[in-house]
Symmetry: C2
């Protein structure tokens, strides 16, 4: 934002006093900084700035605003003023904007753009937003493989202004079937008279339009690509996905994962851009579900009320024991959730994960039990308490590791996001389990003590 903050006062003054000069002033500024600047201006000022930039440059800046801001401007200033700018947008960006707008406004907007573009947008709208089809743009460079390299370079020259990425040129046959790819580097290195078919690599890494965006991101990353073609089941090339869009996907997916792990329903906008009540709506349902889940801790404890009345000290250990189970569960869950997201772990590995977590739970449980038993001894609650706490600790840590590791795998198996098995969710499960285990162990280990204090 530093650039935008620095130039904002002068831009505002120019917009007020001689708007025609503003274009020259901002010519050298990066589109991204101008987009930052747009968010700092009043909407009227922002609109005048866009108009002064000219449709071409304005579209580049407008594309970099977030979908919400774009939609606000369209709804406020109408399709007459924004139509010329919107017409210059890349089809994938335009598609995102239309998806954000109310249906009527979106339809009206599409009427202002070139019919070919409108048709492309309609096609792109058909794919789910989080699939390869929803991420791709239809603007890419393609040639017939019969062209020689010099002709291809000439073609790139002519088309480069329109295409989103010029780093790769795709060789297509007359039915748009993808035959090969060459990078601009390959073309520059090759002799100008070589046919494209000899320069291009025929093993093209590609994805289907239905591919999930996480898989798209993994593929592009694995092969260090700058763009990835989308090809349908007949081999026809539909579009390309560029690395900058994939990075946005990565950031978005990560935000979702972290919010889910914290038991928040993922939010579409930034922290300060989310309204107070929208945030309540994203938080309250999960809190309520977990709260109702925790009712069972009360129910479980009530089931042992006679034991508790007889030996009130038992209550002192409840938070310590249940939280320890929750903590070990959250460790396992975070390891498995991340492993699933990066592809290091798949659902089929479930038994290897189970074996390992049982082992981890055993070792960690015994370790914590020995520390915990020492503490009970220092509190002076006697040997039977020491045994009760020790056994319970091994049990809850074992339960925590197992539940924490298996739940994300189960969720993935049934098609849900593994991160939904949030840390609070696992903690709640283990709380109830832990209380039941604790009082069951206590009833045996402390039977004499309980009998002694029981009302006759």
């Amino acid at each position: 934002m530093r650039v935008a903050v620095a130039i904002a006062p002068e831009v505002r003054e120019l917009l007020r006093e001689s708007p025609a000069d503003v274009r020259e002033f901002v010519e050298e500024i990066h589109d991204e900084d101008l987009a930052d600047l747009m968010t700092m201006l009043e909407e009227d000022e922002a609109m005048i700035l866009l108009e002064q930039l000219g449709a071409d440059m304005a579209a580049d800046v407008f594309e970099r605003l977030d979908d919400k801001k774009q939609a606000e401007l369209v709804e406020r200033f109408g399709t007459e003023r924004l139509g010329p700018i919107v017409s210059e947008m890349a089809p994938d960006e335009l598609t995102d904007l239309v998806a954000e707008l109310p249906d009527q406004v979106g339809d009206r907007l599409l009427e202002t753009v070139h019919p070919d573009t409108a048709a492309e947008v309609e096609e792109l709208l058909a794919w789910p937003e989080d699939s390869a089809g929803g991420l791709m743009t239809t603007e890419f460079l393609s040639v017939s493989p019969r062209f020689i390299v010099n002709e291809v370079i000439e073609h790139v020259r002519k088309q480069a202004a329109d295409a989103e990425t010029v780093y790769y040129v795709y060789g297509l046959d007359q039915d748009d079937k993808l035959l090969g790819v060459a990078s601009l580097r390959d073309l520059i290195l090759a002799d100008g008279r070589t046919p494209f078919s000899e320069v291009m690599n025929e093993r093209v890494i590609n994805v289907a339009p239905e591919t999930d965006q996480e898989e798209v991101s993994r593929t592009l990353r694995k092969y260090d690509l700058v763009a990835l073609p989308v090809v349908d089941k007949n081999g026809k090339m539909l579009g390309v996905i560029t690395v900058d869009d994939v990075m946005d996907v990565m950031v978005g997916e990560q935000t979702e994962d972290i919010q889910r792990l914290g038991a928040v329903e993922p939010m579409d906008h930034k922290y300060f851009d989310t309204s107070f009540w929208m945030m309540i709506r994203k938080r309250a349902p999960w809190l309520a579900v977990l709260f109702v889940g925790e009712f069972f801790t009360g129910t479980a404890m009530r089931a042992y009320d006679k034991v508790l009345e007889a030996v009130a000290q038992l209550a002192f250990y409840v938070p310590l024991l249940v939280s320890t189970g929750g903590n070990s569960g959250s460790q396992s869950a975070s390891l498995i959730i991340r492993g699933l997201a990066t592809g290091d772990i798949t659902v089929r590995d479930w038994w290897r994960v189970l074996l390992r977590e049982l082992g981890q739970g055993m070792v960690l449980g015994i370790f914590l039990a020995s520390v915990g038993m020492g503490r009970v001894w220092m509190w002076g609650d006697g040997p039977r308490f020491i045994i009760t706490v020790g056994i319970t600790l091994v049990g809850v840590v074992l339960a925590g590791c197992t539940v924490g590791a298996m739940l994300p795998l189960l969720l993935r198996r049934i098609g849900l996001d593994p991160a939904t098995s949030s840390t609070p969710f696992i903690a709640t499960l283990i709380d109830v389990l832990g209380i039941m285990l604790y009082f069951t162990v206590a009833r045996f280990a402390l039977a004499e003590l309980i009998a002694q204090h029981m009302p006759p």
Copy 2:
């Protein structure tokens, strides 16, 4: 892995029976798939495969193995057999390998490569691994701005094989000061006789070598770049950071964040690649810290033992109340931690965050209190219990939101990773606070009941 799995049997057979033919067989396979294949072969087979590929191609494959695997091969087969391959590696990749090796082995390895490369690696080793200097490579395309475009393209042709990225050409003066940048697209679009100085953009987005890798990743993402130059404080260009390395950084940082959030010390390797005891070492310390922290819940409850003995029912509500505080805290923490990571929130926003979270805590607290009071009423514990639970709930949710939101900001302020304020850590804090609040409220609201049951 599918490609690697498919070709593995045939490659193995070739390696056994006619190793000289293996190169032709794998020629068209992507380096990344060959790297996958390497991990599936026995180490001896892998070494023979590398030697058959020839140093140039072998280096491309070898680079894509993870640092640990690379180091294993070097330690096993020695610098004599791996020297020629290692010499062809990009300096940044070689630097990572040397950093992974024991000092002696690394030094011996550097003796086998060209002195210039060794000097570059020594220079790169000086930067911290997670800084721009640690990420950059020193191989990039540069020209004097006085060249004309045709000369520049000729130069690109000659150098392209060595440079990691050919998408940008940097204009440097005789002291390597960065004057401007042009993309390959700009060069192809320009007339061949134009001087480079007229084609290049003089406002080059760049980072300093000390810049933290998270900031590097944000900058590259913000401006949709494929490579980002690293420039020292005198304006001298030191290297470039490419988008594929940044994506690896993003994945690594995300893994760290999620593991920290789950109270696990970040692991260097994948789940199944981490040894059982290494994993225990990453988990046990945090579990132990949290466990000892939870001792204070016991201490807090003991402070109110008379109250508990008088009204044993009070214990039934402890897990419900403290976990609800922890849950709201984990929501706030995950929102703030993510906001800090993406740059949407900065430490200076702390009072805006505080105000908002106080409001959120109030609304969510009142909402949950009304549900909770209904449940107490159904359990039939009477109006004084209803009031105690209601007040405590508002209090713990308010405390949860505030602590959960402020702790990550505080950690960032003092230079620690905000994700260290993991969900379990916040839950532990709130557990202790919640118990103290609960019994304090209970002592007032239930004073009569307590007095009635107190032993004289």
